[in-house]
Amino acid sequence: MAVAEPYVAPVPGRFEKSAPRRRSGTLSFTTRFDKVALGLLGFVTLVALVGPLFAPHPPDEAVGSPFQPLLSPSFPLGTDDIGRDIFSRVLYGIQSSWFSALVVIASGVIIGGIIGLIAGSSGGWIDSVLMRITDTFLALPGPVLAIAVVAALGPGLRNTLVAVALVWWPYYARIVRGEVRALASRPHIEAARLAGAGRTRIMVKHLLPGTVGVTVVAASLDVSALILTLASLSFLGLGAPAPAPELGAMTARGLTYLLEYAWIPLVPAFAVFLLALVANLAGDGIRDLLGRR
């Protein structure tokens, strides 16, 4: 028997590595990009949290002469038609927009999550009934329905949030339910069931944690759509009443001055754009980093 050539064990990852390495250039680029996006997300949240503390003027009071342009001394973003400081108002408006979007997302996730969890883990007729309701809501045009709900409840920030939350949950119910159905047949759930864990325990301890990843990704991709929808409702006069510094309403009220004093409607509209853009980029970032979908 001839002495065999010494067997050279394949260096693990030698070939695998060279293939992904070519891609890793783009990979690290996207990761870096994602991290920048997430950094921006953190920054915007910080601005939303503490921004109003740094507002140089009270948002609802006339503090200077009206129609001062951008970059005027002590009014970096100018003043509006009655001399309020636009910068201070925008800081408050960002807070209101950002947290409104988060509140609605959170309630959508909670309502939809509970419904999806119950439907997915119960199966049978409970599942059919809940999903039939969900599909009916999904089949209706959410933003249009939200306008009707606010109009019926009466305009106001709280009513707007309630209205949008009412039309925003079905999407999450579908996602969570699908994920729960997929998880329910996995061995660890079966094991838990055989070990005698109750239905609620399986639902809360074993199924719920498995749905978190997908839901977080879906929710983060959803924030910018929600910011835009809420801003539109506020623009239509369905948000908080008159002096409140809401970005959409500020734009709507400044519309008359578009041709002479363009910054009055444009600054708050740009603030909405930046919020939505950051949310969009950060949503993509979170999806890439969590590596789902």
Partner: protein
Amino acid sequence: MARFIAGRIVAMIGVILVLVLLLLVLQRYTPADPVRAKLGANARAELVAAERERLGYNDPLPVQYFNYVKGLATGDMQDSLRTRRPVAQDLGAYLPATAELALFALGLAIVIGGALGIASAARWRGSGVLRVVLVGGSSAPVFLLVLLGLLFFYRRLGWLPATGRTGIRDAPEGPTDFLVLDGLLALRFDVVGDAFKHLLLPGLCLAIGPAVAIGRTLRGSIIDTMGTDFVRTARSLGAPERTVMRRHALRNGIGPALSMTGLQVGLMFAGVVVVESIVAWPGIGLYTVQSIPRLDFPAIAGVTLVLGVLYVVVNTIVDIAQTVADPRLRG
């Protein structure tokens, strides 16, 4: 197949009935009392009670629901509290302008979205830049787009008009109520040009968001199909890239983009309301915006119903069309 279509239509009617129920429940809980609004705040209590009884507000909910649906079936949408006219009549007057704008925007969205999806899937030169611009555009609230458009095309360049449907006073009031078409039919090309100019800015602003969504979906599904075996076979048989794209990738990948188009119609309806309120487009969006501060719920319910039904119908048609066109979807 017939069974599938029948099932979809039954489901569609179910959804519409639920929408009607929602509107009725909302109407019961709205703080604006239509009877008070009709008779005035100082009306005698007996009169108000009698009117409530006459309008059936004291009936149990199922009876009210039945009567409401029966009314709707005969075109009765109650009277607007603001204009004091039947809501159905108001909608008839305002709807054509909105339909013209929305159809134009939808057409633009499909064209732009399609071009965007194909260009970026095929990696045409410059499509990356286009994508960045459009993704940025889709993060912009629609009112920002309209404002920037007005500043640039109306104020700076003076190319496009700012508000309304047309500046021509004796524009024909023709058979279709679509100004562009009516102008064509009446051979008034000045009207056609003017109406088209008025359509351009609001239509484009409305189209950008849906176009990006359609383009993204189309790009994804084309890329998916490009990786399939039959595309590889077509390529190895020597089919040129254009043919592969047109005959194989696009045809098989268009389904999801079509669904997305149907879904975007709902978003576009919300955008229409905003855009119409800015450029004073005499459509149902403007009607809604004028109804909101007066808490004119019958009017808003009418608009919601019309838009909701349109949305449901469009999506049902998309669904059926897809199943007819794609045998793989027939379960």
